[in-house]
Point group: C2
């Protein structure tokens, strides 16, 4: 009766313990995520408007059920934090509940501008209009001086890497303080560009204490950076939404801490967290650990992340999937065929393992450009 396209719709995969009734479990979510009170103890008009409605519930076999629950957007208001709260706040403390989908009604979606550059804008910033994937490499590790990191940026930019980024563990350590590092890495990247005629970009990691975020972004922008790296779950998702809307810079989001959220039977599925939510907050690119690397995501999950980042979503621009986490340079052409050209490949370890970093990076760049030239890659 209350189900309509104007409601927030969340799908959950329920895992029922022996004797647990899926209908009661779904109904409990609808109450717990809104009024947090027992049935019968709230005014009827509040119950009618505020309590979630179980729209559908279907068996998936093996004690699992799909439940779709819808909510009046008034419960969320205009807030990302409150949207996250309705999505999984209190029920995170329960068991056997996995968020598998989130569909915002247009009224709510309109409150989230999403990526300010998106795939097309990042391509323009990098000067890569061709339908080839972009390449990114991290300057690392933490412990190097700002000059040593700048030297890495210089060599990677000389090799033609599109986006050289700080390792996400580079914060404001005494070994390479933030401002010194950003200035020197940006200058080194520009110097390489001047020599090669290239357009490599350097994205510093601005992840830091809450009161420093705006200042770090401003510093990066004034140094000439076109984008930044940030770990949304370390600084707060809404802080990133705000930076995306206000900074004018590309936002490359790192998944640090994200794996805490996805578990077989309870949590927020990786494609919802990194695909839907990280895109909604304005990430122009989202780094995730690709299948077959040193992290255990499945191919199905990686493809679902790609889909959620790129699929039509009102006026929200598509964002780049950034496949990472131990991608072998030699496998980039394979993954390009699999994921399509609107992908960024973040390759680091396999390049650093080579004696000649710049040469190894240049070979990778050549392979990707050649691959793009030789056979038009299927779109998605």
């Amino acid at each position: 009766m209350r189900a309509s396209p104007e409601r927030l719709r969340i799908t959950y995969r329920l895992t029922c313990a022996v004797g647990e009734d899926p209908d009661a479990k779904a109904r409990d979510i609808a109450w717990e995520q809104t009024v947090e009170l027992p049935e019968g103890s709230i005014p009827p008009d509040v119950e009618q408007r505020i309590v979630g409605e179980v729209e559908a519930i279907e068996p998936l076999g093996a004690g699992r059920w799909m439940a779709a629950i819808t909510f009046d957007p008034v419960t969320v208001g205009a807030d990302l934090p409150q949207l996250l709260n309705v999505l999984f706040g209190n029920i995170s403390l329960k068991a056997g509940i996995l968020v598998t989908g989130m569909d915002l009604p247009p009224s709510l979606l309109g409150r989230f501008p999403g990526p300010q550059l998106g795939i097309q804008g990042v391509r323009e910033a990098c000067g890569v209009e061709a339908r080839r994937p972009l390449l990114s490499v991290a300057a690392k590790p933490v412990g190097l001086t700002a000059d040593a990191l700048a030297d890495l940026c210089y060599r990677l930019a000389r090799a033609g890497i599109d986006i050289v980024k700080d390792d996400h563990g580079l914060a404001d350590q005494e070994t390479a303080p933030f401002r010194q590092r950003v200035e020197r890495c940006q200058q080194a990247t520009q110097r390489a560009n001047t020599q090669t005629g290239g357009r490599s970009l350097y994205f510093p990691n601005i992840t830091g204490p809450a009161p420093t975020l705006e200042e770090r972004v401003r510093f990066a922008r004034s140094a000439g950076c076109r984008g930044v790296l940030v770990s949304p779950l370390l600084v707060g998702l809404d802080a990133v939404r705000w930076l995306a809307e206000s900074s004018g810079l590309a936002i490359l989001s790192h998944p640090a801490l994200a794996g805490a959220f996805w578990h077989e039977g309870h949590g927020i599925a990786a494609d919802v967290l990194l695909g839907t939510i990280f895109r909604l907050i304005g990430s122009d690119g989202v780094i995730y650990p690709n299948v077959g690397g040193r992290f255990p995501l499945s191919l199905e999950t990686c493809e679902a992340i790609n889909r959620n980042l790129r699929a039509p979503l009102g006026r929200v621009r598509p964002a780049f999937p950034v496949a990472a986490g131990g991608i072998e340079a030699a496998r980039v052409p394979y993954w390009t065929g699999r994921y399509g050209p609107d992908t960024i490949f973040l390759v680091s370890s396999s390049l650093y393992a080579q004696p000649d970093l710049e040469g190894a990076a240049r070979s990778l760049v050549d392979a990707v450009k050649r691959h793009g030239d030789e056979r038009p890659i299927e779109g998605h």
Copy 2:
């Protein structure tokens, strides 16, 4: 060799898959959480200083191992986000790793002032010097008008509830906009105090978008509130640290989303997240779902949270455990005996289920005061 009291020490419980070597798994954590590069591809001085050191590894049986890994504080610098990153950033994306403890060296601990009021300061604000627990009730549910919520605050304050707080789902919805709600609820609480001579406090929920946090706190303070409710995982842990250090108000932290982090074999244990981390960021009280309510934490976990909130920790003040999540009013004396008087009991559902909310709340207040008078409660 490098182990010393001057290093950050993190303990993990490792769950090894068949054929997985616990020593290799621990060593992988030490590298992944710092340099994120394969062995042999970084300068020896960086390896020596930055890579974590596996200090101890011991079998726990059933494929589980305890690993203690220490890190040079230079890796963390002065940042809470980077501390969280070293704690569980990238390895969150792996499997079978549970953070079970975190010990900061004095140099790092000194960067976190922690609770500004602590247990003693909150007692003073409430005017409860006696060694009895404090009582808290939420004004709820979302969907009520500001006037209806204010009327609840009035009745609960008349009954003598020490801290009347917003339900954590009250954000800035059109049904009860933030400023209107805070003004009216605070006035209603003060009116009740004037009538009874009591000192009930009203804590509004200031959880909201990043750019509004400071303004909401300022508004609450100027309205006369002595404390606020916030959900650190919805707004970002470091944002709360900053509010705690700068606001002059008591910080009551809600565990929304926290359950995503604790899982049997992977994540951050509840007592580390809600006990150690929530205290470090400056929570004066931390709400958690008590055993036996509508959430599945064990008694052992609840007691570990209590311990981490109250135990000596350098100059960091102890914080109040706030047992909640379906506490029956009638069981409060039992839990007081179990948890000790330096506890806040947050009781809502069982009071709202009564036809006379104010009368039920008053009975609870009387029972707690009588219990405190009759027999001195054992300290902890």
